[in-house]
Subunit: 343 residues, 4 copies
């Protein structure tokens, strides 16, 4: 059975697993105050070019988004996000559970723009409305699209103008950096806070939250604990991040997944399969005849993104650090066969 | 200065004020457990044909919506509403503050339909998404449109099918009943809960919340107190509702406001002024040239609804129980003059 | 039937009611932005000697406490209060509903002290515990006791030392000022925020919240609206406060209630009835034999404070602005009779 | 350096680590819907004798407590707990953050009793107070004490009588079962819900939440996701629990820790050191002269529980699955020396 279902089921990269095994019996201080977390945080500060940034390690992405937003905003302040954003659709109202409205902005490609931010700000005036205060972007987006450095800078400028924090959900930050020509410093420079996702790129679990903006740093560990978001054996997060960031492994794993996704995209285009979005990253969204999508399920694990009109189904294929080149070829071969039968 | 700004600034109807003055020095039980609240609740149960309904009196509309929704839903359950709904736009995220997402549905006329409800339900599956659980409608809507009895029944059927509660925000329920051919029993029959708005129709303040669905009744007074929504001298609400419901006064005040709004609408149409929505109720939304709207401000209080393209402004005129026929004539006369100058 | 049950059931003072009737048909701006609210706020700023204070008018005390605390604190910050405090016992967890823990401190007399604050602060360290951030006092307390100006100043000093806000719930502030030798300026000088209660001292309803601390002022109207705590016909609050503050009426009504309570206390002491607390304000807590308390119910409305050991019941008698001297005499006479029968 | 600081820093037991390594590259369904979670849940249902119980796996204890309580209660419902309970003191107000008050009950030994529950219920009446609805116990308690099966049954009876849910925080359930003569079935029989703690007994992380009460089961995964409490690679929890429960390993690790704690206790008693509480479990609370406690820090990691009067310090020694008998002997030897110097 081929597997292009997601990038969070793959296990830990061998180097990460080895580090966990090697340190298993060490007794360190708990709750993320250990030397491994310290070392990983130092690596991150250095990579981002932000020596004063606060770095916290959390277990998962919803937890990181939720904890950060709850910590950063006053009760009546709202989040602005693309309507396809993870926090809008796939986090069961986690942000609202902590009291904050998310203003959903329809976009064609899952990306916020300065114009969208300005329009949202202009539409919210006076005390009978929530006050937009934080722009949430995900990079890569939920449609596989990517922000460039110039786009990040333009958002930063708009946020400064409008009094908004800029927050980047980097659950797939490695893929975004590889595909979009950004680096860690791009986020350190433009975002008030952002996450570096480990769960989808070589770790068992773990997201690093980098808080660049000094005004957002105080009290954050209190907020983490209140959200149940401090891991007792916190070193597990430091050990993993320390290992994956070592020697550029994090980026090379993401580059591998992206390269295979591009190979898949090229193959799909050669087969004449249209794509939902122009994704340069590790998620590919081909639009298949319903019959092909149905038949594919017997040979490959994947997710249905959306049922479309005209007997078509948009599916999602995801590559990961452990995807093999042969898997991509095999998938294309299967699709070639199914499309031939359908035509 | 003419005043068509809103319907909540008008004072209490003389009969209501008289009742308040007459009972001022009576010492009754507090917190809404007095005979006046009891009598008003009995009147409401009788008018609605729901002898087992729970009736609670709250001071304001946002408070009533917020308290009801917080009491009715479990943490992950969501509200479905038209994107123009009061709870979506003008309550500063009050529903989200209590932890619940509102799913905003774009509509042309501010009204939910069974189709919209079905689509919203179909789009929310699995535990990574909120679970739609309560359909919020306002009647009249924020655009002045109105639900008929048949439309309410169709929504009820859809809600039963989808496992949704049907909640009607009746801040202008009198106007809705007069304009839409519904009566109190229409709501008792179709809604799980609804409010009867007093603030905009003859009271100093006050909304009656009618909870028809027995499963939603337990613990509601605890929820009210927790929200700061039990008035110490609770009798003030009972006294006012008792007076306004007596002898059909509530409906006749609403009918008066509606009649003047229709007169205004007819006059506007005679002047060739287009309207944003086809409102049969006490809110009228004419679209004026920007210059006319600006010039009008010197002679009449009103609100700007929306700036439109092409140098046009949509304004809102609201009639109330205290609006005079002469005021309508005067407004039309002023507009006639301004439009003549502009053309 | 005599009535010493509470001080919130009494109607509006005639001067207040007259002002409401006189202004009933005026059309003013809504939501508390009218000239009456402006005038009342100006009076309060002047009385407090705090020309830069923000003044907001809310309908009830729980609403005021809840809205203020939710607006002032970050998620992990906690309130410190006497375990008898209104917010601890009688507000159905309203503060917790907005996410904040209250640290309950047992006290003999319902009053916080610098020592108690210091001990609470010392007991809360590190991110696994909430961070005490706001000291809540009520004046008068729930046991009728009162803070002097010196005590307020000592609390202020301790709060400065510990990084706490000082918040005073003044639901009975008139009584507290009369009994404790404080004036409005005492609170302006020592508190970061405090309320001036109207509901229990001559108004139909209404609490004025005075926010002295500039850092706590921004965004407060957003928070009010989000809590459902902005009254549509907001002028009703301004009109009432403007009337009751005029010419010292507020204080004279409180002084009347206190004087009658002292008369009652003197009579009780003459009858040999012990008191739960040494209350100089308008609440008196005599300890009666169970039989006397039970028999009294037929002739006087009052509340039971607490069942005590040894067949005794502590009851609460409350005087109000409308209590008559004859009522006190009548109550004492009834008690004299009942106690005689019991002995 | 000796280490008796805590039981959550020890790494995974070799059998657990081996299982994680062996399954690392398997691709399973995400979010806890995999066969390993299924198998572990089946083991737990079988051990508890509750074939219909719902079993969920969460990463940490605060997260488990917080998610369960938020899911189980309506807004105004409160938790009753010993004032030393973890949720009262060491979870940064996590329960309150979700809107629920905890009623703190002082106890000598950290244990709730039927009498305490009845008194708490009796003290909360009417809608101005929160409604107690869930009794939270921890077993072992934060003082190392333990509930017997009879005590659990007596609490169950009281909860039935009072309309309370009984929830047991089993962060140290293995230790509690070994020390108190209970087994998994004891909790299945008496509790509405309880946790089986893995973090402190051989796992990298993980708590299993068992929901016995059918009425509390629906919607729980939605609540977990909303709290950020569903792990993407959910199988990590299933794999670990499956391994630790296999062949009674969970209980034997706990028995080992308890045995060493008893050895330590016996040694302390032989040295004449008094103990704060009579703990039969893996936490020991000796009371040492301040000088001894201070000097000990150079040779042993431990936590200070409380500074006491009279120059004494209560410290906490914790044994874990990886503590060696020699460590206990070494600690006793060090203490013997320090006590000799002090006397």
């Amino acid at each position: 059975m081929l597997n292009f279902r997601n990038d969070y089921s793959a296990g830990a990269h061998p180097a990460v697993l080895e580090a966990l095994c090697r340190t298993n019996m060490e007794l360190t201080a708990g709750y993320g105050t250990d030397p491994y977390c310290q070392a990983a945080a130092d690596q991150i500060r250095s990579l981002c070019g932000q020596p004063e940034a606060a770095v916290h390690f959390l277990v998962g992405g919803t937890q990181a988004n939720k904890t950060a937003i709850a910590a950063f905003l006053r009760p009546y302040e709202a989040v602005v996000a693309a309507s396809t954003a993870h926090i809008c659709v796939h986090e069961t109202g986690a942000v609202e559970q902590d009291g904050h409205k998310i203003i959903h902005l329809p976009t064609p490609d899952g990306k916020l723009t300065p114009e969208l931010l300005r329009a949202a700000a202009a539409a919210h005036t006076g005390e009978h409305m929530v006050a937009p205060r934080l722009a949430y972007i995900s990079n890569t987006t939920e449609l596989g699209t990517v922000y460039s450095r110039e786009e990040l800078r333009a958002l930063r400028t708009a946020c400064d103008e409008l009094g908004l924090y800029l927050y980047c959900d980097g659950a797939r930050l490695g893929s975004a950096m590889d595909a979009g020509g950004t680096d860690f410093a791009s986020y350190g420079e433009t975002c008030d806070a952002f996450t570096i996702g480990g769960t989808k790129n070589g770790l068992l679990f773990g997201e690093a939250l980098v808080i660049v903006q000094p005004g957002l740093q105080p009290g954050f560990r209190h907020c983490m604990k209140q959200q149940g978001a401090i891991l007792a054996k916190g070193r597990l997060l430091g050990v993993q991040f320390d290992a994956i960031l070592h020697g550029g492994l994090y980026l090379s794993l993401a580059a591998h997944a992206n390269a295979l996704a591009r190979q898949l995209t090229a193959g799909l285009e050669a087969l004449g399969v249209p794509l939902l979005a122009d994704s340069p990253s590790n998620q590919v969204f081909p639009i298949l005849p319903d019959g092909v999508a149905a038949a594919l399920e017997a040979q490959c694990a994947f997710e249905v993104q959306e049922r479309l009109e005209g007997g078509r189904t948009c599916v999602r294929f995801v590559t990961a650090w452990d995807t093999q080149e042969g898997d991509v070829e095999a998938l294309l071969s299967v699709l070639r066969g199914l499309l031939g039968q359908c035509s």
